[in-house]
Symmetry: C2
Subunit: 293 residues, 2 copies
């Protein structure tokens, strides 16, 4: 059965059945808007999208595409030091697409939502004349005064990354785990000066953080943690790592390196360099530009 | 200059300059997430999208496309009885697109945001291998206990619509005015049993409201307010009217019809029928199905 066979109302009715919704959701998906209770914390807002033949192919398992679509936004909420809250899904798909593909997509979205206790409270389906397009909007919450931007880095601060970098296209880009628990633990226990998630590659993302902070940086190429079989250039340039890049004062960095292995014994933590008084454009070629290639 | 010429960072930097942001916005577009103060009211959440060759063409003025993209979601917030708050924009565009087109799009988004006092707090740009795709996510707020769903209609209630219907494809679909002030005034002064905005046409949307309320309906075809030159079937089926469809008890309807002309002298209000104990599928052919045509 294709989307055209099913028709819009049946497609929507099927998709919104069994979406994860907790007691904060007063009006779930299906009305003009969702209505959600919201506490005294600050609201985080993020949107992100995945596009056929850019972020996945028709051969990618649809469950993995759904996981990726939601987890990309989750990773951004984590990068602010927050917890994800409520998600909205926009799907544009060609009418001839098999309905089972879309059900698989939603199964993946649901799995990610359940993993991170996210309510999926709405969405939009529309006809696409090209490929499949999925956009996710996500709220999050963070205690007042505890959010972490890209702008607080200072010269002399240490630069850290979680996990290993490079080679994501081989499959990890579809099944990465956003570092939510790690980010919240870091934010609760350390004074983070700046943080972001690595989506376009360290070579592209670190200069962005440095520019936002008004500082330069120096990285030790030998210290860049690499996935098996990857060169340093791949580690810097491939992108879609979804690891945390964050900045702390040197003494805080030493305390962190002592505490990390007990908190997250399975996840590598690397100090890869430091911020300085230079300008942000220093010497890291590569990274992903959405319009340039 | 095309998007490929400009490169992603320059495209984004240009677009997020001068976005409307009020003092509630602690971290605007450009970081991993936006951070927004949020009061004690309920949060409304909505996403919606416009797609090239479905909702607009390359020949449509980009400012009008931007206006439409945001105002569609604004119309949904109004249909809950709420005020719009903060918007996120996702844009997927082919690299060969002229940058000036995207700047025009953002000029239209900005104009709509200023008109309805919306903060544009973030977005995402990505490469499209097909046409242009714009998705908008919008928050809104509504006082606790005052939101209006589609589900509260009762047999015997009166069915009203604002404005005139039909013929939107001639141009009005790009320059409609979401009925925000009208919806809030209705919600503050009358007991609305149910409300929604008309996006897919009365023939498609009224049965949805009736199904949500668990009732049937009867409409008086002669009472359907029509735009100049439109037949009743066009008024029922064309869609993209973005007028309010709402339900009140009969005595409340009479009070409303007396008060409306003073409050909104330039906008027609029509009582087009009533809810009954039938089933929702009664006799309104037409309306727009996103996957069927």
């Amino acid at each position: 059965m294709t989307l055209a066979d099913a028709g819009e109302d049946q497609v929507v009715a099927q998709l919104i059945k069994a979406l994860p919704n907790d007691a904060r959701v007063l009006v779930p998906a299906g009305d003009d808007c969702a209505v959600v209770r919201h506490g005294p914390e600050l609201l985080l807002l993020k949107t992100d999208c995945v596009i056929e033949d850019v972020h996945f192919t028709r051969a990618s398992p649809p469950r993995a595409v759904g996981w990726k679509a939601l987890c990309r936004a989750v990773s951004d909420v984590a990068a602010m030091g927050g917890w994800p809250g409520d998600a909205l899904i926009t799907l544009a798909a060609p009418p001839a697409l098999e309905f089972s593909w879309v059900r698989g997509l939603y199964a993946g979205l649901r799995r990610a939502a359940e993993r991170y206790r996210i309510n999926v409270v709405g969405g939009e389906t529309a006809r696409s004349l090209g490929g499949i397009f999925i956009s996710v909007a996500l709220t999050g919450s963070v205690p007042s005064g505890r959010y972490v931007t890209r702008a607080g880095g200072e010269p002399g601060d240490s630069i850290f990354v979680t996990g290993k970098l490079g080679g994501s296209l081989a499959g990890r880009h579809l099944r990465f785990e956003p570092r939510v628990e790690e980010a919240v633990w870091l934010n609760e226990n350390f004074r983070l000066h700046a943080m972001m998630d690595l989506s376009d590659g360290l070579a592209k993302d670190l200069p962005r953080l440095a520019r936002a902070s008004g500082v330069g940086f120096r990285i030790d190429r030998a210290a860049v943690p690499l996935n098996r079989g990857c060169t340093v250039d791949q580690g810097l340039g491939d992108g879609e790592d979804y690891e945390l890049l964050f900045i702390v004062a040197p003494e805080e960095g030493a305390r962190l390196q002592a505490a990390w292995p007990q908190a997250f014994p399975k996840l590598k933590l690397s100090r890869i360099g430091e911020l300085n008084t230079g300008t942000a454009v220093d010497g890291v070629p590569g990274g992903y530009d959405h319009f340039r290639r």
